[in-house]
Point group: C2
Chain length 115, copies 2
DNA sequence: GTAGCATGCAACCCTCGAGTTGCCCATCGA
DNA sequence: TCGATGGGCAACTCGAGGGTTGCATGCTAC
């Protein structure tokens, strides 16, 4: 690992995004709202502990932040690493897809000194 | 997997991108060149069969295409699904990150009818 | 045609991710 | 104060992913 955004941080992000439940959570948080583990478990087909594990994975990947509010914990989206992941995709596919090429240019400053 | 671009196709893409070796392969193919399993295995710390499995995963995710050329198999990058994945990221993080918002607008037509 | 190189396929470990149950701690409210 | 609710922690099971070895197949070159 090297700096702020080490080479395998993007790997952690992609790993987190590989799971259906975790993507569902992120889509849920996409509007900027917060959510509690209990509320999530209520609308998912898994137990609260399973949800808690997923949230821990998302937090470890830097995709969400948690904050205590009384006796409940609120999770919020943190889009920074999502931008990093998008930049990686643009860097790889930019020479092939014209839209990704524009995205690559758009996110260019993020890619400097990656390897 | 179901059809052309089912809702969980993006999941397969993220799963494929979650592995270090597979991302290395895609970076290697990012310049548009082709590569054979043997050539890849020569510059990776795993066996040829392991590389073959990774290539199979990448192909299943629609990220590479393979074509036979004599007795060797050449794999080439297929950036379509990468664009899909970038669109998903932009859709989720677009309301929080200004750059992702512009990306979301850029890739907007890809997102229609996702759910 | 025959040796040799590039792959493909199958069977087999071994680790770890995803989920569960059970128990304990903290906080809110009557 | 004390019951009830939201969460965290630990131990356990189960299945699949990543890796390996071994063998079969197919094309090339001599």
């Amino acid at each position: 690992m090297r700096l702020e955004t080490p080479a395998d941080a993007v790997g952690n992000v992609f790993f987190a995004l590989a799971d259906d439940t975790r993507r569902h959570v992120l889509e849920r948080l996409g509007d900027g709202s917060t959510v509690t583990p209990n509320a999530l478990a209520a609308q998912l087909p898994v137990t609260r502990q399973a949800v808690a594990k997923h949230l821990a994975v998302l937090q470890a990947a830097g995709l969400v932040t948690k904050s205590r509010a009384g006796r409940e914990t609120r999770y919020r989206l943190q889009p920074q690493r999502l931008t990093d992941a998008a930049a990686w995709i643009a860097a790889v596919g930019g020479q092939w897809d014209e839209r990704l090429a524009r995205l690559d240019k758009l996110l260019g400053e993020r890619r400097r000194g990656r390897r």
